[in-house]
């Protein structure tokens, strides 16, 4: 079966202030309805890869395409903006707003639906990530790390996006809470039938949420394949990374 490419990074090069490029001609595809997990060491360009697809960073060379149309940072007709949901590493919830307004932010300010309807949908989204309704009127500062991640996940899914991005979704969480978040991610991606792109250092999380895996090194794709192939792949560096072994062993 030929899978349809949903997101394509084409020869993407990004550098900052004349230093060595963070992404150096990166080529990568995320297929529709599948979950791609990008792994790699610190500073290898994983976050930048994600940000180019979100339109937050403009490549110096190459482009990122969603459904065959180039991502246009800052433009309202950007093909990405209308159909993405994003879970940030820190949650990135707005401190000044109660949780339900955080979750409903896009509905209120971009889709301009009524406050009553937005609240109803926000409460539904909170329920989908197993958060009680009483959390809705609390501020982000009063929630635990795990609850913040769930609320941020609710914000990412509330508008029923076709693409979900996850930036280090389990970083800073205890193993049990991380497992809860992994299961929620799998469930929500499946419910929405969305294409998911995640970046993570957490190999347990990768095994939970990935259909496909790509490893980035020096701003390029070192290896790419299905989850089944990652543990048995011929690339020694990938195997060591997945097992958490340094090259000096």
């Amino acid at each position: 079966m030929t899978e349809r490419v949903k997101i394509a990074w084409k020869n993407v090069t990004v550098g900052f202030d004349g230093r060595k490029p963070v992404l150096n001609g990166l080529d990568l595809e995320a297929y529709e309805g599948r979950s791609l997990v990008v792994i790699g060491g610190s500073g290898t360009g994983k976050s930048v890869t994600l940000k180019t697809a979100l339109g937050l960073i403009r490549p110096q060379k190459g482009c990122v395409e969603i459904d065959g149309k180039p991502v246009r940072p800052g433009h309202e007709d950007d093909p990405g903006v209308a159909q993405i949901g994003m879970l940030f590493q820190s949650g990135a919830l707005f401190d000044s707003l109660p949780i339900w307004k955080n979750v409903a932010f896009r509905l209120l300010h971009a889709e301009h639906i009524s406050e009553d309807e937005a609240r109803t949908r926000a409460l539904e989204a909170l329920d989908q990530v197993d958060l009680d309704a009483h959390v809705a009127d609390q501020r982000p500062g009063s929630l635990s790390g795990g609850m913040l991640k769930r609320a941020a996940l609710a914000r990412a899914i509330v508008a029923r996006p076709k693409i979900l991005f996850f930036d280090e979704p389990t970083t800073g969480l205890d193993p049990v809470t991380a497992d809860v978040i992994n299961k929620l991610i799998v469930r929500q991606v499946k419910n929405l039938g969305a294409t998911a792109v995640s970046i993570t250092h957490d190999m347990v999380s990768m095994h939970h949420i990935a259909d496909d895996v790509a490893m980035v090194k020096d701003g390029q794709i070192l290896w790419r394949g299905s989850l089944d192939g990652v543990d048995s792949c011929a690339n020694d560096e990938v195997c060591r990374f997945v097992r958490g072994e340094s090259s000096e062993d």
Binding site: G74, V81, A92, L93, F94, R106, H109, A110
Partner: protein, 255 residues
């Protein structure tokens, strides 16, 4: 290092910063005129910048007016010109000290606050989150703050003018034995409409400057908590210097 090279590098950095600020100001103005408008954000900022700044602006104006009256009395008495105290206090406050002192106080309170708030949002990816939620940060965060500054500063300065003149009145009447009726009449008769309007125009310009500096330095803050602190400091310094420079230019135009 070659001193010429250092001067050249400094000049280029200065021009680059000026260009970046000008570009940011242009984007802000574009965001002000293009929908969507965030009325709730604007109302919130008017309350935070305007209403919550009233005590600090009022107290500063009161003491400035009082001290001005004492100084003018001391100087005027050397020329037997004590009777000009109400006139000069009124003119000094309305044309110069009201707008400048109030704006400097707000540069300390508002510019730093805006820079710290937006800088913290940058550090915690909240500004990136706005992008992903199909909301333009320039329209949601920046435009309401700058518009609130432009709208609120004239009102604050008008309030500062009244309180400052009252400060001069209190000292003059209770300490310097001025007749209260004559003091008020001299103040009122001496001031022209243009004195008041020019001060309020200055206030609107200073409001633009001090909110823009807070937004600019916060928006481009880098480097976590240290970067946020640096952004707040730079915002206050830049706002204060630009307010003095703009004051000179506007005074030159208005005399």
């Amino acid at each position: 290092m070659n001193p010429l090279r250092a001067i050249g590098a400094g000049l280029i950095a200065l021009l680059r910063s000026a260009g970046a600020v000008a570009l940011f100001a242009g984007q802000t103005l574009a965001a002000l005129v293009r929908p969507p408008y965030f009325a709730g954000q604007l109302a919130q900022q008017i309350f935070k910048i305007g209403f919550l700044s009233l005590p600090v602006v009022g107290l500063t104006a009161l003491f400035t007016g009082a001290a001005l009256a004492l100084n003018i009395y001391t100087g005027g008495s050397r020329f037997n010109a004590e009777s000009f105290v109400p006139n000069i206090v009124a003119m000094g406050i309305v044309r110069e000290l009201g707008p400048v002192i109030a704006s400097l106080m707000l540069a300390g309170r508002v510019s730093s606050g805006i820079a710290a708030e937006i800088g913290a949002m940058r550090a915690t990816e909240q500004i990136d989150a706005l992008h992903t939620l199909a909301t333009d940060p320039m329209r949601y965060l920046i435009a309401p703050r700058v518009l609130a500054g432009v709208l609120v500063l004239p009102v604050l300065v008008a309030t500062a003018d009244i309180i400052g003149i009252y400060g001069g009145f209190l000292v003059s009447v209770h300490t310097l034995d001025f007749n209260p009726t004559i003091y008020v009449r001299n103040t009122w008769d001496f001031l022209s409409d243009w004195d008041i309007i020019s001060g309020l125009i200055k206030a609107a310009v200073f409001g633009f400057i001090l909110t823009l500096m807070g937004c600019y330095h916060g928006f481009y803050a880098q480097g976590g908590a240290q970067g946020v602190g640096r952004a707040a400091t730079n915002a206050v310094v830049a706002a204060a210097v630009l307010i003095f420079a703009a004051n000179f230019l506007l005074t030159s135009l208005f005399v």
